[in-house]
Every structure is written in C-alpha cells, then in structure tokens.
Symmetry: C2
Subunit: 215 residues, 2 copies
DNA sequence: GGAGTATATGAAGAAAAGCTCATATTTTGG
DNA sequence: CCAAAATATGAGCTTTTCTTCATATACTCC
C-alpha cells in the first residue's frame, strides 16, 4: 500500500512510539471537534493542531495535507462502521430475510444515531472532498458482506441475492442518510425506522410471492 | 449597506436592465461549469467570473460573497425541481396511491438523471455549505405538495397521509441520491428504479391490508 | 550514559482566495 | 441630447491558509 499514494493521501510517518499514537488520536479528536464547532469551511490545519494541543509541524508529520487528514478520519469512521455491519451480517447468516433486514437497519441506524452530530459533520466533510474513493470502497466492502448474508437466507432463492442486495442497501443507506439530513423529532425518527423496516419486509414478501409463482 | 441580511446571503442588487440579467445568467452557468470541471474546493470567485467573461467586481455586484452564489445557484435548481414535483402531484391527485408513487419516482428520477453530473456537483456544493436551510425549505415545500396529493388517493385512508408522506419521501429522495453516489451502470440504475417503485407499492399494499383489518 | 532514532516545535515564506473601490462605460427617461 | 441611474472594470489591498525546515526535546536500547 506504500506504492501509488494517489494524491498524497497517505500518512507521512506511521507512529511507532506510544506518545505519537496519543498525538495522532488527539489530532483526530480535535478534527472532529473543530468540524462540529466551526464547520468544514473553517477547518484549518492551524485550528486543528491548536485544538489538539500540538504544533502544526507535528500534524504535518503524520498527515501530508489537510485532505489527507479528512480522508484518514473518514476512513477510520467508515472502517468501524463496516466492521459493525459485517458482524451483523455474520450473525444473521441463515436467518429469514426479514430478520436480516431488520437487524441491518438496526445496526446502521444505531451507528448513525449514537453520535448524530458527528455523523452529519462527516457526511459534509466527505462531500467537500472532490475525489471520493472512500464511499466507493465502503460500498464495495459492505456490499460483499450483505451479499453473502442474503445468499444464505432460509427463505429466499440465492439467485436473487444480487438484486435484493443492491436494492436493499441503496434504499437503507439512502433513507437513513436522508432521515438525518432533515432535522426530525424523536417520534418521527422512530416511526420512520419502523416504516423503513416494514417497507423492506413488504417488498421481500412480494418477492417471495413472485418467485413462488414462477417456480 | 442595507439592513444586515442574515448572513449576507441576499443578492446585493437585483438586475433591472436586460444586460445585467444576461450577466447573472452567465455567472450561474459559469459556476456550474467550474463546479463540474474543477470541483467545489477549486471554485473561486476569480475563476467563476473569468469563465463567465465578466470581472470579479461585477460578480460582487450581485452576490455579496461566494457562499451567496452557491446558495443562489442551488435555490434556483431546487426551485425548478420543486415545480416539477408539484406539477406531478397536481396531476396525480385522485389517482390510486401506487400510480402516485410511480409518477413521483419517475419525476424525481428523471430530473436527476437528465444531468447526472450537475446533480452530483450540486449535491456536493450544498454539502460544503455549513448552514443548510435550503434543503430544509425544499423538503417543506415539496412535502406539502406530496402530502396534499396523498390525502387525495382513491385507495388509502387520508388519516395515514402523514406517515405515508414522511416515509415515502424519505425513502425516495434518499434512495435516489444514494443511487447517484455509487457509480452504477445503466442496467443497474434501471433495475434499481423498478425495484424502488415495487418496494414502495408493496408497502402501500401491506398498509391497505392493515387498515382494512382494523376497519 | 550516550548514540541514534523518533517526535515535537513554531516562526516565517509562499500561495491563494476574498473582496473593495475609484473609475469608466452603457442605458434609460425625459 | 443630456443628466442620472445602472452596470462593468480590474488592479491591488487584506486576510487567510498551507506548508516547510532548522532546531530542540524525548525516547530506546545497548
């Protein structure tokens, strides 16, 4: 992974001592705080390092530029999210499709809700990036996990897994994100989640009916 | 200066002569082009005015700052989109809910697909804005139109209109956006649209069943 | 303890972007 | 045709931001 480093997106140095690991963590934390309090446009290297309690030079020792910092932060977050989704997928293997959908939405929703402000801040920070391999990679990685899960339902033909996977993931990720962008009250959010689950399940059932007919 | 407009988001001057209207249009067009060719981070007042073939000063005569320009551009786009959705809603009043959903998705989808690159560029440009009343206003406006439409279905109880409206709009807008963010091939896009319509309809049917039972 | 490596510092140069204003040109209306 | 209003200009001032580098401090391990 040291080779192609497309746009200087790689860390300059990798921390080896414990204090530097602390430093890098502090920088990430500071980035989040600045993102939340000042917004993406006012996020500068100086502000971040100030907040982190380190000098600008230190920051540049680990991140070759601002973009790399944002990318790294998002990569970190997306990685954690992917791990959780993967865990859910593994856990639900072999279950009925409706259970899978429900668990998937629950996982995704919870991960986003835990820190709603951060979720939104990160959404915006990635959008500010011109290049966007991150989301693409995330989609591929998580797509593989859900795909393998849907192939192992107890109540759906495996040959439909591709269509099911594409549709469900698109709808779920999209709806969740949109739900966050509107600023809704708690009751609406909760109702929305329930409806989303219902909707996905209703579609799956209609799917089963169709395949039964053709069978 | 006039009364301190909220965040300087208002146009400084409103064009009255025809040549100035041409100028403003050119600025909007240039903004789009720069957005597409250079991306949001490299979009600067200088670059935009250069592309528009006017001087920077001229730009600042109509837009007090860069943010105002982006806001105005998006407002313009969202207004056009809202009008189309409103037209569809008006046209579909009294029809079966499934027809409504289908028409709504079709309208939204077409509007986005017509200029997919622009759609994506605008998504990013708004996201880069720290403050975001635009989307909120759009959601409210379009929400009113769809709400009124769903209240007039031939096959659904009007008291469920609120839940139906919130759920469907969230799912549709979210899914459409997500579909654009992944870079999918034509066949996948088409399949996705069909599935989305199916899914919404399946949910509506399940909804009808439930309300029939309680009735 | 000391040589060598890792990490931290922050003043300062360079680049970029935002924005203004004094001046010039065009249009309008009487 | 002329004065007032509208519109256009763009050099250049200001502010912000990025980034580097020479130097200093801390750690590791023999």
């Amino acid at each position: 992974m040291t080779a192609h480093a497309s746009q200087g997106a790689k860390p300059r140095k990798t921390p080896v001592q414990s204090r530097s690991r602390v430093t890098v963590d502090a920088i990430f934390e500071a980035t989040i705080q600045v993102l939340l309090s000042e917004g993406m446009t006012r996020l500068t290297t100086t502000r971040v390092s100030e907040r982190a309690g380190v000098s600008v030079g230190t920051m540049y020792q680990y991140f070759p530029n601002k973009q790399a910092l944002i990318i790294a932060l998002n990569a970190r977050y997306l990685n954690a999210l992917a791990e959780r989704v993967e865990a859910t997928c593994a856990r639900m293997a072999g279950q009925p499709a409706a259970e899978m959908v429900s668990a998937l939405i629950e996982t995704y929703w919870t991960a986003k809700t835990e820190r709603a402000d951060l979720t939104q801040a990160l959404y915006r920070s990635v959008a500010a990036l011109d290049n966007n391999v991150l989301m693409q990679d995330f989609a591929t990685r998580v797509g593989a996990a859900t795909m393998s899960m849907f192939r192992q339902t107890s109540d759906l033909p495996p040959q439909d897994a591709t269509e099911i996977n594409l549709t469900l993931t698109t709808v779920i990720y999209g709806a969740v994100r949109n739900a966050f962008e509107r600023e809704l009250g708690m009751e609406q959010i909760t109702a929305l989640k329930a409806s989303l689950i219902d909707m996905c399940c209703a579609w799956l059932i209609s799917f089963q009916h169709r395949t039964q007919m053709t069978a």
